[in-house]
């Protein structure tokens, strides 16, 4: 398939993981890999197991079977704070904003350390999300939905992260804000590999290079984003999108 492309090791490799929430067997064999320099999109209907997969990668759930490797290192038995320090950032579905803290303090909590490099990265963050500079001293709880989402995505960028997991950034946002968000994510993918969970097909197809389809706690299909855009049957079957 890829004779001419250089064969990079995948940055993340998830193999046949199973996860339980309480007694519910939510993930029943999820496998995928994420290659450097790409945005990998995870798609699937509500309840297909996309968020659970991201939470399992972050160590918030430990898989009962299967392996997760980040740059060859097995991480599926590690604690969330250890996984974070390896260089994986997470933007959860509910955004995880500290509403009582200021925007500045939200960043402070996110920083693994504070030094010259961090300040440099902060400049990059302001460049991608200029609004955040304006609201630097504001209480995060008072920001608009779009601004909160920007903050949620920007926070992990203050660290030298190599992988960023973003869960449904478009949720509850107006179309114009979504366009703005697409721009921002396009800029930040220079700095980090992105895994994007997204229901909004417009956003998913504008950003994604590879896709994986989830159904009933399993990965059932994968390929390049362009193929999916063309494939009406797949879209209809797994995403309920027609036309």
């Amino acid at each position: 398939m890829a004779e001419v492309e250089p064969v990079d090791e995948p940055i993340l490799k998830v193999e046949r993981i199973h996860s339980l929430i309480g007694k519910h067997h939510v993930l029943q064999g999820v496998s995928f890999q994420v290659d450097p320099g790409k945005v990998t999109v995870l798609l699937g209907r509500n309840g297909a197991g996309k968020s659970t997969t991201l939470r399992t990668i972050m160590g918030l759930l430990s898989p009962s079977q299967g392996t997760i490797r980040f740059k060859e290192q097995a991480i599926h038995h590690m604690k969330p704070y250890e996984i974070s320090r390896l260089g994986i950032g997470f933007v959860p579905e509910d955004r995880g904003i500290f509403n009582l803290l200021t925007v500045e303090e939200n960043f402070r909590v996110a920083m693994h350390q504070e030094n010259g490099k961090t300040r440099e990265r902060m400049e990059t963050v302001f460049h991608i999300f200029p609004d955040l500079k304006k609201f630097w001293k504001a209480t995060a709880g008072n920001l608009s939905g779009g601004q909160k989402q920007m903050l949620a995505i920007a926070r992990p960028l203050v660290n030298r992260n190599e992988l960023l997991l973003i869960d449904e950034p478009s949720k509850g946002l107006a179309p114009i804000i979504i366009d703005h968000l697409i721009d921002s994510i396009n800029k930040l993918k220079e700095f980090t590999v992105v895994i994007l969970v997204e229901q909004n097909f417009y956003m998913a197809s504008s950003l994604g290079s590879d896709f994986y389809l989830f159904d009933d706690g399993r990965t059932v299909h994968h390929g390049q984003m362009e193929e999916l855009v063309q494939n009406e049957e797949l879209k209809k079957k797994y995403l309920g999108i027609s036309g």
Partner: protein, 328 residues
């Protein structure tokens, strides 16, 4: 939530309670009562703030907190006695040496009880994180055990708490009698309040703790081992209980094994009035309780405990989560 009335409610409440007794009491007596009310408030603040912080961050109801207060008082008692034997600083004419021995005794109590608190957390509370019902059972159990241990180590009887010479007696300011120790207690309480507040507001450590109150999972995902912070908060909360115990004992000049159980009721009320998890709430709640208790105890002695309960009921009916919100 954001109407000006709601915002200023706590402040108005404090002023109303603060000033209303002037209608019934002569100004001189009023000043004396106010100072002892403020002192009692500041001492309650020390106990309540530890309880409240532990609840706010860890969501743990630690009813053994009162026993840690008792341990603090006894360790303060013993270390004061020992240091005084070696140095005689407690009986010295020098205010500086008096303060030094007092602070050393409190420091010893704080450090040892912090350790005791952490051991209690590891042994007793770790298995019941997440369940308030079990926490109530198991920490009441721990309270009984810790109290019995006090009886075993120090005996069941009351002891007289030694007080440094220059802390005794009173000043006479324009004919108003002002006891010395309450002033010291108020100053100590204020200093400790501002130190905690600055740590919570200005340091990275404090910022992480406040973030953890709101969303512990997110703090973990950002690379911080929240359990270490939990243990740290437990240690600080326990140390505050101990310092409160030592200072309370100096206030009432005696200690006995059940003293913690009596004070913890007040501390609970203070923490709930102020809003669990709020350090500023603990100060305001403690001052409200301390002042109203002292005014009413002077006017209608039998109603003193009742007024505290009434305060609780009134405030909760207006603001069910207390005066201040978590993390403030």
């Amino acid at each position: 939530m954001d109407s000006p009335w709601k915002k200023w409610f706590p402040t108005l409440m404090v002023f109303a309670i603060f000033l209303s007794p002037l209608l019934l009491i002569s100004p001189k007596t009023y000043i004396t009562l106010t100072i002892s009310g403020l002192a009692m408030g500041m001492l309650l603040f020390l106990v309540a703030s530890g309880f409240s912080l532990i609840f706010g961050l860890l969501s743990v109801l630690n009813l053994a907190h009162g026993a840690l207060f008792t341990w603090g008082a006894y360790i303060g008692f013993t270390s004061f006695g020992l240091i005084n034997q070696w140095t005689g600083w407690g009986g010295s004419e020098s205010i500086f040496l008096n303060i030094t021995i007092f602070l050393l005794a409190l420091l010893t109590a704080g450090l040892l009880v912090a350790l005791l608190g952490v051991i209690t957390e590891r042994l007793v509370i770790r298995p019941v994180y997440g369940s308030h019902l079990f926490q109530i059972f198991i920490t009441v159990g721990a309270m009984i055990v810790l109290e019995e241990l006090v009886r075993i180590v120090w005996g069941p009887n009351d002891e007289v708490m030694p007080v440094p010479i220059s802390f005794m007696g009173s000043y006479d300011l324009f004919d108003v009698v002002v006891s010395k120790y309450p002033l010291i207690a108020i100053a100590m309480g204020l200093i400790i309040y501002f130190v905690i507040l600055m740590i919570l507001r200005k340091t990275k450590l404090g910022t992480i703790v406040r973030a953890g109150v709101e969303n512990p999972e997110m703090v973990q995902v950002m690379g911080h081992n929240i359990y270490r912070y939990f243990t740290g908060v437990f240690a600080v909360g326990s140390a505050l209980a101990a310092i409160g115990g030592g200072m309370w004992a100096t206030f009432v000049k005696s200690i006995h094994p059940a003293m913690g159980g009596e004070v913890i009721i007040f501390a609970l009320i203070v923490a709930i009035i102020g809003g669990l998890g709020s350090i500023t709430g603990s100060v305001v709640g403690a001052l409200l309780v301390g002042l109203s208790y002292n005014y009413v105890a002077y006017l209608v002695p039998k109603a003193a405990l009742g007024i505290t309960m009434l305060l609780l009921v009134v405030i909760l009916s207006i603001r069910p989560t207390g005066l201040f919100s978590e993390g403030t």
